[in-house]
Amino acid sequence: MAEQKTVTFIITRQDSPDSTPYEEIFEVPYRKNMNVISGLMEIRKNPVNAKGENTTPVQWDMNCLEEVCGACSMVINGTPRQSCAALVDHLETPIRLEPMSTFPVVRDLIVDRERMFDALKQVKAWIPLDGTHDLGPGPRMPEKKRQWAYELSKCMTCGVCLEACPNVNDKSNFIGPAAISQARLFNSHPTGEMFASDRLEGLMEDGGIGGCGNSQNCVQVCPKGIPLTTSIAAMNRATNIQAFKNFFGSDNAH
C-alpha cells in the first residue's frame, strides 16, 4: 500500500492576545481538492505537530465557507486571502499560515476586526428606515447605477485591503479602504442618498478619507474585485465639495 501523502503547514501561533507568537509545523494527511480550512480541521482532529508532540489545536475563524462572509481571512504564503477559497492543490508547499498583522490577534489565526466595524459606524454605512408607520415603497434605482453599486455591495469586511494598505497601522488612525467604499455604496442608494452628507462628514472626520496615500494596494488584493480606488477618488471629490458647501454655505449642504 502506498504511503499516505501529507501536506506541511507552518503556522504562526499565539496563545493569547499578549503572548509572544511562535511557529509550529504540522504534517496533515493529504486529500484531493482539500482547502486550507480542511487542513486546519485535520489538525483539530489530531492536534499533534510534526515532531510528534501533542499540542493544542490551532484556532481560526470561519463561517460561510464560500468566500462571502470574510471571517476566515489570514495570510497564506505571504498573501492575505480567505482560507476557505485557498485550495491546497494551488498552493506552494510548505503552506505558511499567519494571522493578518494589521489587526490584534485574539488567538492563533483569529484576529479582531472590530476597527472595521467602528469605521462603518464612523461613516454611517447603513440606511436608516425605522419608523412607526408604513413608509411605502422606496424610490426606484436606475439599472446602470444598480450594476456598479452591486459590485460595491460585495464587500464582506474581510480585512484584506486593510492588511495590504501601508497607511493602516498602529501609527495612524486611518479607517482603510473598505468603509470608504461602503460610504459610496450607501450614498448611491436612492434612500441612502438622503443622508449622503452625514456619511461624507464621517469620511472627513479624523482617520477618515484624508488618510489615504494612494498606494492602491487595496484594489489589487481585494478578493471580490471591488473598484476600491475608484470609490476612494469618488469620495475624495464628494468630500471636497461637501467641505466647500459647509464652509461657504449652500442650501444643498444638508
Binding site: A164, P166, N167, G210, G213, Q216, Q220, V221, T229, R237
Partner: protein, 206 residues
C-alpha cells in the same frame, strides 16, 4: 461634529504641493535654464527675479511658508506609513514609497541649497550670479548631490501631481488615472531635463 482638522490639513498639504510649490519649482528651473544661453543671460534673468517688488514678502508667502508646512506635515506622513513594497510590489505601491523617500531627500537638499545660496546672499557673504553656482557645482560631490536633489524634487512634484488629481477627485476611473500616470511621467522627464541640463552647464560649462 467630530474633528475634521486632519482632513483639512491633508487637503491643504496636497494643494500647496502644486500651488504654489510646484509652480515655483517649475519656474525656478526654467529661469535657471537661462544659464545654458550664457553667463550674461543667467545673471540678467536671476537679477530680474531678485529685483521683483516686495521680493522678501513674495518669498515668504509663496515659497518659505508653504514649503515649511508641506515639509513638516510631509515628514509626519512619511514616518506614519508601513512600507510593504516587498510583499506588495505593485507599481503604485512603489510610487507611494518613492514619493515619501524623494520627499525626505528633497527636504535635505532644499535645506542645504537654501543655506548655501539664499541665506549666504542674504548675509552678504555671496552674490547672486553665475559664478556662485559655478563655484558650488564644479565640485564633483556637490554636482552629484545637486543631480540627486533636483531629480528627487522633480519626481516628488510629478508623482505628487498624479496624487493631487486623485485626492481632489478629478481622476476617478482606472483609465483616467492611467493616462494621468503617462502625463506625469512626461512632466517628470521634461522638468528633469531642464534641471539637469542647467547643472551640467554650471559644472562643466557645456
Amino acid at each position: 461634529m467630530a474633528d475634521q482638522r486632519e482632513f483639512f490639513y491633508r487637503r491643504l498639504h496636497s494643494f500647496l504641493g502644486v500651488v504654489p510649490i510646484g509652480i515655483f519649482l517649475t519656474q525656478h528651473l526654467i529661469v535657471n535654464h537661462f544659464a545654458v544661453y550664457g553667463e550674461e543671460s543667467f545673471n540678467k534673468a536671476a537679477g530680474f527675479m531678485a529685483g521683483l517688488p516686495f521680493v522678501l514678502l513674495l518669498e515668504i508667502f509663496i515659497i518659505y511658508l508653504p514649503i515649511l508646512y508641506h515639509a513638516i506635515l510631509g515628514v509626519y506622513i512619511a514616518f506614519t506609513a508601513n512600507y510593504n513594497t516587498k510583499r506588495y510590489g505593485f507599481f503604485r505601491n512603489w510610487m507611494f514609497a518613492l514619493q515619501r523617500i524623494t520627499g525626505l531627500i528633497t527636504l535635505v537638499f532644499i535645506a542645504w541649497h537654501v543655506w548655501e545660496t539664499r541665506v549666504q546672499i542674504g548675509l552678504g557673504n555671496a552674490d547672486l550670479d553665475y559664478s556662485l553656482m559655478e563655484g558650488i557645482l564644479t565640485n564633483p560631490f556637490m554636482f552629484w548631490f545637486y543631480i540627486v536633489g533636483v531629480i528627487a524634487a522633480v519626481f516628488h512634484f510629478a508623482n505628487g501631481l498624479w496624487s493631487v488629481l486623485v485626492s481632489f477627485g478629478i481622476t476617478q476611473t482606472p483609465k483616467s488615472q492611467k493616462i494621468a500616470t503617462y502625463a506625469c511621467i512626461l512632466v517628470f522627464f521634461v522638468i528633469s531635463y531642464l534641471g539637469v541640463r542647467t547643472l551640467i552647464q554650471f559644472a562643466y560649462g557645456i
